[in-house]
Structures are given as C-alpha cells and as structure tokens.
C-alpha cells in the first residue's frame, strides 16, 4: 500500500471521530511514515510497520473517548407542553441516548420520532455528527425537587413551631410539620403520572443495522418491540425492561435495579448477550442466544426458558438462581451464597456448577458431562437415564452420598458402556442422585 492510499483509507475509517481529532491522528501517522522514509525504508515497508488499519482503528476507538460536538438540531425555543418531534435517521448508524433522571421508553413504530413534555426544567438536545445521533435528555428536576422539598420542610417547621407556641402545646405538632411535604409530594406525583414530565418516548422503525446505546442514571428504561444490530444499555438506578426486542449483540449493565427480559412473540436468536447487575434481580423469559454471559453481585436470577446454542455462564455472589428450562451446549454457573434450582437442564456438552454455600437442585438433568463442586450444602439431582449410563465420581467429606437405583449385583457393571459422566464433590452436605 502506498502512503497516499493508507492516509486516504485511514481518513475514511476515522469519520466516527470529530474532525479535529481525525486531523491530529492523520498528522501523527504522516509523521511516522516520513520518519521511516527518512530512515531509508520504502513506503510499503513503512506502512507495514504501522500495522493494519483494522488494528489501528480498533485500538484508537477503544482508547479515545470522544464527545460529539455539533449543533443542537432541535429548535431553541419550544412551547411548554407535550412535544412530538420527528427525527431523520437517514445515514445514521449509531444512536446514543443520555439521560439523567428521565424514564425512557423505546418503542418499535412506523416513524422515527421523539415524544416528551417540554417544561422549564427540561433540557433536550439532539446532536448529529456523521453517522451518529446523540440525544441528551436531562431534566433539571433534581434541582427543582430539592428546592421544592426544602421549601416545604421550612414551611412545615414554621407551621409546627407556630402551632406549638399558640394552640397545640404538644410534640405531636412535629407530624403536622411534615404535612406540606407530603401534600406537595403526592401532588407532584399525581401531576407526573398525568403529564409524564420526565418521560422520553423514542419511537423507531425497526432497523437491523442500527446500533443503540443508552446511558441512563435514574429512571426506568423500557424497550418494546424493536430490532437493533447492537444494543448497549448502562443504567445506574432504575429498572430495565425489555420486551420482544432483538439485537444481534446485547450488552446490559445495571448498578442498582432489576433487569427483565421477555421475548414472548419474537423468536430470533441473538449472537452474544452480556449482562451485569450489581444489586438487583435478573428475570429472563423466552430468550434465544448463541452465547450468554450473566453476572450479578447481589440479587436473584429468575430464568424462564433459555436456549443457548453455545455457552451460558451465570455468576452470582449472593442470591439464588431459579430456572425453569435451560437448553445449552455448555453451562457454567458460580454461586457464592445462594441456591441453584433448575427444573429442566439440558446441557449438550457439559455443565460445570460451583456453589460455595447453598444447595443445588435439578429436577431433570440431561447432560453427558456433569461436574459440580459444593462447599456447604445439599445436592439433589434427578438425572435422565439409568444408573448404568453414568460413570460416577461422587464424594462428600462430611455427609452421605446416596445414589438411587444402584445395581450392586450387576457383574457386567464395569464393562458397561458408560457414555455419561458425573463428577461431584461436596465438603459438608449430602448428595442425592435419582434417575428417571
């Protein structure tokens, strides 16, 4: 590749960055190429030394955090009240939504538009840069509410004091002091329910090439009936509810709040799904995926029916895993303190379970290679097949190991074709294995 070609290609691929940034990078690489040329290298050799453009782009896009800098598309002065604003998504590949306190609802629809309530305490802005659309929806409600509630408290205190020194000479007046706060709070809540002050509705046409990134601080995020290429959601406090939404790759991260996914109608298999929750529950129902990686610090998993073509990895520090039906190639689950209860587990290749303190129970297990390590707790497994099908290595340091249906008198036991393996260690607790 020649120098000009390299620079041209790189410039083309760097369009996701602001122009200044792009120019700087080009200058940096030009300088490197000239340097190599001055050292006596040929253009081709110099470009080879720089590495492939793919590598460069991957590295730079991972390391550089850029902010889209462009003009706000929305008109500066808008009427107060409900707003409906159509957005043009021509040539847009990425949508980034940032919000502080609003509740965001993304709906699959016939048009691309935004719906929100415009008030004095709202700041909405849309920026467009190359193929990226940035929607910022920040309500100043926090400041507003703080001032309002502060005023209510002062008013309440004044009311209580004046009552105490005039009519009611009892400490019960303290309760009256809270009255303004309670009244105003209830009123604000009712108004919020009616007018949906802090709600941002995003209506989008289903688009398989669209990358959607959502960063929300407080407030719920709801996504209904959509199709994306990549879906990336970061939520600090608030719940995430996803219904009938498909994305080739999913990435969800929640600090405190629950995540609920339910794809009842849409039966489309995602490629990769990653889910991290600090404190909150994960509920997933009817989900098809190739690989899934779920991590939860404190909270429970409630899994309905999950079908994974490849690997499913579950990890939870404190909390239970309850699942109705899991069909997977490889399953690995790590639970620090909590139980695992699975009604039906089919692992085509293997399942690897680790529990530090808690029980492990499977009602119906269909897996050729099962390994479980439980530090303190009971293991209760009902496995598919007969006792003879399994090559078993079960040990318990302090506790009983009981395998039902063991045929001690079978003289051919050692010669049987045992295609399935089951390995289990329990430090303190019992193991019960049954067969169906």
């Amino acid at each position: 590749m020649r120098k000009e070609q390299f620079i041209e290609e790189l410039t083309k691929r760097l369009t996701f960055l602001p122009q200044d940034e792009c120019k700087e990078i080009i200058l940096y690489y030009e300088d490197l190429i000239y340097g190599y040329l001055e050292d006596g290298l040929s253009e081709e050799a110099a470009i080879l030394k720089l590495g492939s453009i793919e590598e460069i782009i991957a590295k730079l896009s991972g390391e550089l955090h850029f902010e889209v800098k462009s003009e706000n598309i929305l008109p500066n002065k808008q009427k107060i009240g409900k707003q409906h604003h159509q957005i043009d998504l021509k040539g847009i590949n990425d949508i980034i939504v940032q919000s502080k306190v609003s509740r965001i609802i993304v709906n699959g629809s016939e048009e691309n538009s935004l719906e929100y309530f415009n008030s004095l305490f709202l700041k909405i802005a849309i920026f467009k840069e190359n193929d990226t659309l940035l929607i910022k929806h920040n309500q100043k409600f926090f400041i507003f509410y703080s001032c309002l509630y502060g005023l209510c408290l002062i008013l309440g205190a004044a009311l209580a004091l004046s009552l105490y020194f005039t009519i009611l000479n009892s400490l019960w007046v303290i309760l009256i002091g809270f009255a303004p706060l309670i009244i105003v709070n209830t009123l604000m809540r009712i108004l919020n329910i009616i007018f949906k002050f802090n709600q941002l509705n995003i209506n989008l046409i289903k688009n398989e090439h669209l990358n959607f990134k959502l960063q929300g601080s407080a407030g719920d995020i709801k996504i209904n009936n959509m199709i994306f290429n990549n879906l990336e959601i970061y939520i600090t406090s608030g719940n995430l509810i996803i219904n009938d939404t498909y994305a080739e790759n999913n990435f969800f991260k929640a600090t405190s709040g629950n995540i609920k996914i339910n794809n009842e109608i849409l039966k489309k298999r995602s490629n990769k799904t990653e889910l991290f929750v600090k404190s909150g529950n994960i509920t997933i129902n009817n989900f098809l995926c190739t690989t899934m990686n779920l991590k939860c610090s404190s909270g429970n998993y409630c899994l309905g029916s999950i079908d994974c073509l490849d690997a499913l990895s579950l990890s939870v520090t404190s909390g239970n895993i309850t699942a109705q039906s899991i069909i997977v190639n490889n399953l690995s689950a790590v639970v620090r303190s909590g139980n695992i209860m699975i009604a039906y587990l089919k692992a085509k290749q293997n399942s690897n379970i680790k529990v530090t303190s808690g029980n492990y129970k499977i009602k119906e297990l269909d897996c050729p290679d099962t390994v479980f390590i439980v530090k303190s707790g009971m293991v209760n497994i009902t496995a598919k097949g007969k006792r003879e099908d399994y090559l078993m290595d079960l040990r318990s340091t302090s506790g009983v190991v009981k395998v039902m249906g063991e045929d001690k008198d079978n003289p051919f036991k050692e010669y049987l074709d045992t295609s399935k393996k089951m390995k289990g260690y329990v430090t303190s607790g019992c193991i019960f294995i049954k067969f169906i």
Partner: protein, 103 residues
C-alpha cells in the same frame, strides 16, 4: 519480559524522553519502541492522555515543506515525571532485593 508490565511505564517513559527537549512523533515513537515493543496505535492515546492531563503541550513547526508536530513537557508534566521517578526508585529497591536473592 512481559510487555504488559512494561506498558505500565509508558507514560513515565514518554515524559522522561521529552523532559529535556521537545520531540516529534516519529522520534518519540522510535525511542519508545526501542525500549518497549508497542504498536504505533498504542502511543497516540498515551500522548493524548498526557496532553489532556496538561502534562505536555503540542506545537507544529514546518520541516522540509510539511508540518511536524512536536511534543513539549509542561511544568505539570515535570511534576508528574518527578512522581514517577520516586515511584521507580522505590521499585528499584524492591527489584534489587529480588535480584540479590536470586544470585
């Protein structure tokens, strides 16, 4: 040696290389990659980060009919370099102990 470990010292190395006189991109990259094997795309974000921390400033100068970008250390950068020096000194003592034991 583990290049990952060395990469932790990239910022310090860049500051050390420009502490006496400003350097331009290629010279800096050449000197850094002589010490640590890195890709060209690794250095840029580090320079950018140092610039963001006000540890260095950049200016452009004409050279053989084209623009060349120079990186110059600031007072903030010099302070940072001194901090790295102290850290490295402590590390050196530790490494000396390890090497001594292996003899």
């Amino acid at each position: 040696m583990d290049s990952q470990l060395k990469k932790g010292f990239l910022e310090a190395l860049v500051l050390a290389l420009i502490k006496d006189e400003p350097a331009y991109g290629y010279k800096l990259f050449d000197e850094v990659s002589n010490k640590i094997h890195i890709a060209s795309s690794t250095l840029y974000p580090i320079l950018k980060r140092l610039e963001g921390q006000n540890a260095l400033i950049t200016y452009q100068e004409e050279y053989l009919g084209r623009l060349r970008k120079y990186y110059k250390i600031t007072d903030e950068g010099k302070k940072k370099y001194q901090e790295y020096r102290i850290m490295c000194q402590e590390l050196k003592e530790l490494i000396d102990v390890i090497l001594e034991e292996n003899k």
